[in-house]
């Protein structure tokens, strides 16, 4: 082959690869998801889902065995009996044997990405997708119903066992019947929402990207109160007794009265809080974008802060006496720490 032609082809190929990799298609534009169940920790970290032994962090299995650039996993897996349901950034929902990682079925009926985790309700898997739809699939991978909204669905629904409550980027909160997928009510959130709702004692608490937190009566969707917080809300609040604890994009942790939404106190962490925190015995813990684990008492007093390498975007998880921290762009993508923030084990897929 002519030398010039070869150089030209190589240059064009390089340009194509560079431009494709700079585009955000097929590269990391989300953060990993971690979930603990029984003796395992399941970790969706881009190219693969890992099952790790919860006492050591050693890998039990990984899925798929060979990474495929088109299948990226970021949503927390969900356990349904002996099945582990994993969803990806292509359009695939897969059922795996939770103990071995063997694939049992695939559901490819959606057209978009699965950004957040599916919800398991009895014998159904309820999965939000960016193709504007919520999918209900049975445990053998057959579509039961599909509910279409006006835009992408980025957040896992909540349920009271009969109804499903979920947000859409179309600025609405929806309530649908879990058995039939029929709409019960929908409420305007005035701005797009990517946050999971939280349901407690018949009240749904949900935030939007403009930083407004709402409380709705789950029976009829009537608005109980709304409160403007510091910045965009990306996750569900935590509730302890009559107080709500929620972080926002400005890095503020707000403590509100659940009955009327009155802000009682706020704590500035100065780094965005996007993931849901966890309730501890003596307070609540939140992860920040700068990689800090901030623990405050139920009274709002700052108990301690530990810094880690990477961004703590993901939802925090508690398993027994461990906290599981998924660190985006960190040397150690997954850390198990004790309740004082000391490392117990770490997992790196680069090992």
């Amino acid at each position: 082959m002519n030398k010039n032609r070869l150089v030209m082809i190589l240059l064009f190929s390089l340009t194509a690869v560079l431009l494709t990799s700079c585009s955000g298609a097929g590269v990391t534009n989300s953060w990993a998801g971690v979930m603990a169940a029984d003796d395992f920790v399941y970790f969706s970290n881009g190219a693969a889902v890992y099952a790790l032994h919860s006492d050591s962090g050693n890998t039990a299995w990984q899925y798929p065995e060979k990474a495929n650039a088109k299948r990226l996993f970021y949503a927390e897996p969900a356990v349904a009996g002996e099945q582990l349901i994993v969803v990806d950034y292509a359009n695939t929902m897969a059922s795996l044997n939770a103990k071995t990682g063997a694939e049992t079925w695939l559901f490819e009926g959606a057209n978009g990405r699965y950004v957040d985790s599916p919800l398991i309700l009895d014998n159904m898997i309820i999965a939000p997708n960016t193709d504007y739809s919520l999918y209900a699939v049975d445990l053998s991978g057959r579509l039961v119903w599909k509910f279409e909204t006006g835009h992408s669905l980025w957040a896992k629904p909540v349920t009271d066992g009969e109804s499903l409550y979920f947000t859409s980027m179309d600025k609405n909160l929806y309530a649908v019947d879990a058995a039939s997928g029929m709409l019960i009510w929908q409420k305007d959130l005035h701005s797009s929402s990517v946050a999971r709702p939280m349901l407690d004692d018949g009240i749904i608490y949900v935030g939007n990207l403009e930083g407004k937190l709402f409380a709705f009566d789950s029976s009829d969707g009537s608005l109980l109160w709304e409160q403007q917080l510091g910045g965009g809300i990306w996750s569900a609040p935590l509730i302890h007794e009559d107080k709500l604890y929620i972080g926002d994009q400005t890095g503020r942790i707000s403590i509100l009265t659940s009955a009327d939404g009155k802000v009682e106190q706020y704590i500035e962490t100065e780094s965005a809080i996007l993931g849901t925190g966890v309730l501890l015995d003596n307070g609540v813990a939140f992860g920040t974008e700068e990689g800090s684990l901030v623990v405050i008492g139920f009274d709002g007093a700052r108990l301690w802060t530990r810094s880690f390498d990477g961004n703590l975007y993901s939802n925090l998880q508690k398993q027994g006496d461990h906290l599981l921290l998924s660190l985006t762009q960190g040397e150690k993508p997954l850390l198990a720490v004790d309740l004082n923030g000391n490392e117990i084990w770490n997992f790196s897929d680069k090992k």
């Binding site: 010039n4 032609r5 030209m8 082809i9 064009f12 340009t15 194509a16 431009l19 494709t20 700079c22 585009s23 955000g24 298609a25 990391t28 534009n29 989300s30 953060w31 970021y74 950034y89 057209n111 978009g112 990405r113 950004v115 960016t130 193709d131 835009h151 992408s152 980025w154 980027m169 179309d170 600025k171 005035h190 701005s191 797009s192 990517v194 939007n208 990207l209 403009e210 965009g232 990306w234 994009q249 965005a272 996007l274 975007y313």
Partner: protein
């Protein structure tokens, strides 16, 4: 710095247009046309310089020195330089506007990707790029990603019932329009002209459409839409300037072999 000067103004402008027209696909088309119009003085300068270079390449003296110093590259370069000075041509003048446009086009490309925000990290960045005093987040999000049959945020395929695969219509259109836009500005090669340069140009005309087609096939359809619009506007701009060689893309027309540089100084020009 790059984000502040290039990306953020582009993103805000794109979102503002999207807010006005209510559709992100239409916003991409209008935004591309607008930026192409703004960059037109540079494009015009580039076209003028390219035309001067083409005129030079069909000049008798130029052809003579190409033949005479074929084996002596140093001497050839010296003689060419003399001729440039004599004819008051700056060989870099056609490259400079392209170099200036390049960061703008790259910025445009990056702004488009970031505005499409197909994942949480992209969305987080996007919310930080919006000027709060200019745009209200609630008004600009969510972007209407559906345009015609496509979803702007994912690679485009036209699914026809009964056909087991999707047809990448936009990628095909990108290949065709890129080929046309580069081919119509390529003058027919003169006998004795710089063979290596002509060869490079020919190879560019072949590989570039496929590179662009590959990008359009594999990336979000919003980018493919940008490529198509950009190509069409470029073709229109070339046509308006009159400096086009339509014969190059009219395969059905029998081409006349170029005779000599003197008898045929320029080829068909756009009317």
């Amino acid at each position: 710095m790059w984000d502040t000067i290039i990306i953020e103004p582009f993103i805000n402008l794109l979102l503002w247009i999207s807010k006005l027209v209510g559709n992100f696909g239409v916003a991409i088309i209008l935004f591309t046309i607008l930026t192409r119009i703004v960059l037109y003085p540079l494009t015009a300068k580039q076209m003028k310089s390219t035309a001067a270079m083409q005129k030079l390449q069909s000049d008798k003296r130029y052809i003579e020195i190409q033949t005479k110093y074929k084996g002596d590259k140093e001497k050839l370069a010296q003689e060419q330089m003399k001729l440039y000075q004599e004819m008051k041509i700056n060989p870099m003048a056609s490259c400079l506007p392209t170099l200036i446009q390049f960061p703008i086009i790259i910025g445009l490309y990056q702004a488009l990707i970031q505005t499409m925000a197909t994942g949480p990290l992209d969305l987080l960045k996007l919310t930080r790029h919006i000027y709060p005093s200019f745009l209200n987040l609630a008004e600009v999000l969510p972007l209407t990603s559906k345009f015609l049959w496509m979803d702007i945020g994912i690679p485009e395929r036209l699914n026809i019932p009964g056909l087991g695969f999707g047809i990448p219509v936009l990628a095909i259109v990108v290949v065709i329009t890129t080929y046309i836009s580069s081919k119509i500005i390529t003058p027919p090669q003169q006998p004795g002209a710089n063979d290596q340069g002509a060869m490079m140009g020919k190879m560019m005309n072949i590989y570039m459409p496929f590179l662009m087609g590959w990008l359009a096939w594999s990336l979000q359809s919003g980018l493919a839409l940008y490529f198509v619009t950009s190509n069409l506007v470029q073709i229109a701009q070339y046509a308006i300037s009159g400096n086009v060689h339509w014969d190059n893309v009219m395969f059905w027309k029998k081409k006349e072999a170029p005779t000599t540089a003197i008898s045929k100084k320029t080829t068909t020009r756009g009317k």
